[in-house]
Symmetry: none
DNA sequence: TATGAATGAGGGTTCATTCAT
DNA sequence: CATGAATGAACCCTCATTCAT
């Protein structure tokens, strides 16, 4: 009888996935080697293949886990809504500040590039994740409009796309500019602009 | 006695750089091979090494050329300014719609990733290019504020960063979502919001 | 205090050997993995090493068992002799039709190849087995000649070698040609030729 | 302009194929490494891939070349026919003595095993080669029967199969027994038996 | 004893780079 | 200058074997 529990297996999978996330982000997916990942996970090279089919599988799992992570954070944020406008901006703040460490940004960019190149499952999942994220924020915007916090004239989906793009773009600029850049301040600025636009519409 | 003119050399360099840009964007920098690039440039593999030190050098040149391309477009756009607010939004429109084909987006992402990883020259040039882009748009904003088109309360640099981020982010979403996405419409929406915010400030 | 009886050990050894025989024949010795064999034997990979030193040992055992199997069949056939000529041909028929399934042929070829390459024990055992098979049939031929069923002019050992070779070769052609080939008919033909040759000698 | 002629390429291909033949025969196809083959051909490992798609391709080429070699020898032997019976036996002698060095036998066995396992092209070509060899000798037998050298009662195809099998089987026994074994003598014995059978039929 | 996770050497293959022609 | 054959290091992956449980 094996003493190796499912919990142990899950821990290994998680440890490998975590190492992969780190190495993929630090070195780039193509440049990362299975040995590096194994070393970072404290395993031998071959051991990874007991838990993942191969590098591609590991990449897919890394992407999926990143999206899942964001998804969970969003679901959680949905509850903590004060006014709807705030809820919307909170979602952006959450995505940007809570989640957007360097690692996440790098992996998101890699994911976008992969999806643009390889097509197939990666492409479909990336696209569906973006759809999800846009749809979620769109819901906030719509509710905020119903509550009279945002002028009805603004396209809810459009504003959602804007926020999504902003989060992505600020992540990149953060990556490029380093510490002297404060993404949260930028998002606050956007928030004030939208609020001012809402006020001006009256 | 040299029959090989500088013009000939320049043409070769340009042809290789152009092929590199195309292949790097299509296949990814790591996945792209020197042979592919040579083939696309109509040369033999070895010939590239007469014009570039190696793959890294070619990558750097490709990044630099991409930035130079944008730089030129911006300089050109500076002249065509009507109102300053329009000028600012025009710069965004230009960056987004004129320049942001798939190739450009992919290379920009690769560039951001490279700069985050390799440090050194690439990092410094990427950062200085972003500084340039932000500074340029910042100038437009400032002028627009002087002209009373935008409320003075908005941080010029902040608004510039917002626009830069938006352009980057919309590029990514375009990459992810494909044809059903219209980046220009999104930028128009942002423009209206900013205008409304400006109006509301009075 | 040992609860593990010799019978249990023998059963395990036999089960592993049988699985090995099957997997080696189906996939080839080099391509076969210890895991496949273990799975086919209903054991874990590591368990094999309690009964066999390693893969090489298992291969040797498989070869030895194949030869032993044939040896036993021959010994058994020796008794059932009518006329000596018939006995001789019966031995061939036995070897060819009773024993020569695909599995046996594949393993025999692998064995011949191994023996040609590795030398050592395998080589010596293979050679000694062939010596045995030739000697056995040679005895039949000699007896048949004494009984006047075969002309004395034929070299007993030569005829035996011919029969041995025929059985091997027909096995290969059967392997190559598949179902449309009937090895037994071929052996019958050889039998008639030898009988005719014997008759013609008078 | 490249100075590398087609002749040079052909020479390389031939040199690699020859090295592959040697290494495959000596070490076995699965055990043989591309490095060994490259070393034997006086090349680096990577160079092989300019001339062959990979190991499988090299194996296929080796098999094909072996068959082609035999085919050519047979075609050549067809001309040198005295009496038809002799022609038939000459074909066997040729196949056995001229062609059946250790290398050839090993590769033929590997080929038969491969064809039995992998199916596909290898299987089809192996089968079609055997068909060819059997058909060729069958033609000799038929002609010999027309010429009254062999009793008409013998099945031409059957006798051909017998000869083919004999050649294969003698090759194996030669492999197993080493120098003390003389395959040609064995074939001579078979020849005498067939002749005696022919005589006895009158 | 039995298990199967872990190891790590080694194989096939690719590709940046060099260099004889 | 241009070519493209050749090199060889490095990658992904497999699997015989070991060993803690």
């Amino acid at each position: 009888m094996t003493r190796v529990t499912q919990a142990h297996i899950d821990a290994r999978v998680e440890s490998i996935r975590s190492a992969a996330r780190s190495v993929f982000a630090r070195r780039g997916i193509e440049a990362a080697t299975m040995s590096e990942i194994a070393a970072e996970a404290g395993l031998s090279t071959g051991a990874i293949y007991r838990y993942f089919q191969g590098k591609d599988d590991l990449v897919a799992a890394t992407f999926a886990e990143g999206q899942e992570r964001t998804r969970r954070a969003f679901e959680q944020a949905r509850a903590n809504s004060g006014s709807m406008l705030e809820a919307m901006l909170e979602a952006g703040r959450l995505a940007l500040v809570e989640l957007r460490d360097r690692e996440t940004v790098c992996l998101d960019l890699e994911c976008a590039l992969s999806s643009a190149r390889t097509g197939g499952v990666v492409r479909e999942e990336t696209r569906s994740f973006r759809e999800y994220a846009i749809g979620l924020v769109e819901g906030f915007v719509f509710a905020a409009q119903q509550a009279g916090e945002i002028p009805a004239g603004l396209d809810p989906r459009g504003l959602s796309v804007l926020l999504n793009a902003l989060v992505l773009g600020l992540g990149i600029i953060d990556l490029e500019m380093g510490d002297e850049f404060d993404a949260e301040v930028m998002l606050g600025l956007f928030s004030r602009i939208v609020l001012a636009a809402g006020a001006g519409a009256h």
